[in-house]
Symmetry: C2
Subunit: 492 residues, 2 copies
């Protein structure tokens, strides 16, 4: 028995790719760079969506839906944004197929059905949305606009990986419009904080909140806030971003409002998003060589009950007892699955649920029935124990909370152990090479230095942490003066 | 005061278009044929989604996600399906833009970034899904597969109307795979029934379940089940379809399974979908000359509380009382909105909520506080009454149920009054012209007759009702023998 998964220590990247497929989360599609999100993976994503959606609504946002296609003339209106995405857009040029006269039963693009203006499949929706907001905003009374949309977007990446970087992905994108700069800044900070609370509190993944350096900013943003997580292989992963867009899009699309004094001003903007990439962060934060490890909050099944028996007589007794147990857990609000399949042995099932990361497994056989106990197996630390059937639901509910907390604590310890302060470029490179993780170092604040470090080490500035302490020092690369440390890392 | 809506009797089509925009449901986007679904419209769609999703899961289905793009070679594999959608596809041919050397700041399609194989933006997903199922299905143990996806699709329609027919729309599409013909047929019937229960029970729209004639079938289906609703102008609207696809897609994509006896068979399939078109059905079934009318199940706000006061002193007293009322309703599980805006007069608010279809409006002023009453206004029949504040939540909950039922009953009466049996082609045309609605008539079963009737009257066969009684007769058009009546109508 075993799951035949490559070990993380052997080849982390291969372990990840195998795990995503073997745990039934997703697979590569027949379309280059695109993925199929399988039911088990999608069920986890649905749980993320539900919680995020609740948090967005709690903070005053509503959902809406804007078109998939962006006419080229709108796409190019905000020049920096257009420049940032121009190299990776899918472009619709025609709207009809016709029979191919040379190949019976085949179709070809109808050259007569060429669009007058090409349509860009949205890589992000600022352009189409700000072109719409223009008609919605006349006065300060129309502000703020606090919208979000759940959508698919397309970025034609050359090197793709399931969940982490795919040509099409699912995400949410918030787009807000404000009367003042301060209000927009507050919104960008608030939504970054919502992301941090969600990713830490719900997904059990510790993150560092910060701002991006100029070169890592979203194309078209004045300031990009982000949450940065650390994966088990010591590489960072940007888990969410929230952008203060200033008046850039309002100017590009001529969106002005009459303020209380009757003057006309450009509107202030934010946008913020997280995507199915979070699935990658989830996998690479908690999982192990046995397979996926899911925090109870995200697990489609928090508990699986596996009946253990030999022969028909035992079977009916054990299934009855297992059903009763499952029922009592369900009544306590626990997402429980009773696996009564007769076609698979318990060992096969144990293996399957380990691979799929179910937080708690309950085994029950004839001896357990006699003793009034069950066997409980925790997925997070692989420990097993026998506990009484009486009061099981309460015990399980407590254990699920404990597992959720344990996963976060474990990840936090690992992350904190992998923030290393260095004061020389030699140490910088040594830490990156031998230990990985975040390297906290002084930087002279120039894009030039940042680029050179990136070229030489592949490390980028992940963020300048919020509330970063002021500290006099010199840039590890250039020796120029610096008044704060920033976090570098290799990243996904 | 007033909403300046065109009256239905003047111009039904204009009334509809105005209502969609004025009630803040949706608007035309800058992209030809596409729409922006505004927050209020989207909130209604979200309620539909939530209930449908619950019903799908209750009947054993899971959600998944498949790519937006379909490579041309897969798209054309099932010939009838391809033929049915070839004339209305958006086609991606390039994956990069470049700076336009002739126009500074503008972009153009990079001719070097032409795709080897064009990608079709999915008009429906059978092709990409069955190409995927091929890898998932080896044995009968892998069946059934019961999946659904919530997605956007694109059909390049030439004449578009908000919600009813747009180039991009949102929908769900179920795609199931089965070991036997009977199981697939049962699934198609079951899901059509789920649609009927949802549309009647949740949306308050009566429907007739039936099957389509051959010429109205989904491209690639062996049998199409449908639910047909009747709009207030006497035109029918297809509200949902469920297709028995036979083995057509399994054959096109070579999807076989080993049966229990070890033989290889092609897999049986269904697909089924409803879309944002349901928003159009909702509007055209219940609304009136004053604006939108929402069934309580779908209303983002089931009740709005409008405080009525003059001056500061009254204001604080009335707002306090209104808040208490709103709180008690909320605690009873009612979706209530307290409109305490100081910038708008009660009359303006009344008008706004009438236009937006809020089922119940509660007005409360100083006199109501003295008397311990409130004024209740029902949106469905525009009646008003004074009721006691004590026990209000119970009363309101009961009223909401009553309104939900009343809307359905009213629509059912209208629909039943508009099913007219005719036995001659003269009467057929007369009823269509003067009364509208469904015309129940004998038909000789040929596509030729169907097409001629369509050419001459614009009426199509909406469906052959399920459990249709057998009745000897002659075709109203050809005089050929017929053994059942079918339902004709002009349709959206």
């Amino acid at each position: 028995m075993g799951n035949n998964l490559t070990k993380r220590s052997q080849d982390y990247s291969k372990w990840y790719n195998e795990l995503v497929v073997k745990a039934d989360l997703a697979e590569n599609a027949a379309v280059r760079g695109c993925m199929v999100i399988k039911p088990y993976g999608y069920a986890i994503w649905e749980r993320m969506q539900a919680e995020l959606d609740r948090m967005f609504k709690e903070t005053g946002h509503s959902n809406a839906y804007f078109p998939l296609f962006v006419p080229k003339s709108l796409f190019e209106a905000e020049e920096k944004n257009a420049e940032g995405f121009a190299k990776e857009c899918a472009i619709v040029t025609h709207y009809r197929l016709e029979n191919d006269p040379d190949h019976a039963g085949k179709l070809r693009v109808d050259p007569k059905a060429k669009l007058e203006e090409e349509l860009i499949v949205r890589p992000t929706s600022e352009a189409i949305i700000w072109n719409t907001y223009k008609n919605w905003i006349q006065s300060y009374r129309d502000l703020p606009i606090l919208l979000n949309q759940w959508a698919n977007v397309v970025r034609w990446e050359m090197r793709t990986r399931l969940f982490l970087r795919t040509a099409e992905f699912l995400w949410q994108e918030g787009h807000t419009a404000h009367a003042t700069k301060q209000e927009a800044l507050d919104e960008a900070v608030l939504m970054n904080d919502v992301y941090a609370r969600f990713v830490e509190g719900f997904m059990g993944i510790p993150v560092i909140q910060g701002t991006k350096s100029e070169s890592e900013r979203f194309a078209g943003a004045v300031e990009t806030y982000c949450i940065e997580a650390l994966m088990q292989d010591g590489k960072a992963l940007q888990a969410g971003t929230s952008h203060f867009l200033g008046q850039n899009f309002a100017k590009a699309f001529d969106v002005k409002f009459a303020n209380k004094e009757g003057g006309l001003e450009h509107v202030w903007a934010t946008s913020w998003g997280v995507s199915t990439r979070l699935m990658g962060a989830l996998i690479m934060t908690h999982s192990d060589d046995q397979g996926l490890v899911l925090p109870p909050n995200l697990a489609p099944h928090q508990v699986v009950v596996v009946p253990i028996y030999r022969g028909e007589e035992e079977r009916s007794r054990v299934i009855d007892a297992a059903s009763e147990l499952a029922k009592s857990l369900k009544e306590a609000g626990i997402r429980v699955h009773l696996d009564s399949r007769d076609t698979h042995k318990p060992g096969f099932k144990f293996n399957e649920y380990e691979l799929k990361g179910v937080p708690l497994r309950i085994g029950i056989g004839p001896k357990d029935i006699e003793k009034g106990t069950v066997e409980l197996a925790r997925r997070d630390n692989l420990s097993k124990s026998f506990v009484a059937q009486e009061g099981l639901a309460t015990h399980v509910a407590g254990l699920l909370d404990e597992i959720q907390q344990n996963l976060f604590d474990r990840a936090l310890t690992f992350r904190n152990d992998h923030i290393t302060e260095v004061d020389s470029y030699t140490d910088f490179k040594k830490v990156l090479k031998e230990k990985g993780g975040f390297v906290s170092a002084h930087w002279d604040g120039t894009t030039e230095t940042e680029n050179k470090i990136k070229q030489e080490t592949k490390a980028t500035i992940r963020c300048i942490p919020l509330n970063n302490p002021s500290e006099e020092g010199v840039c590890v690369f250039s020796g120029a003066p610096s008044n704060q440390r920033v976090l570098f890392a290799k990243a996904y």
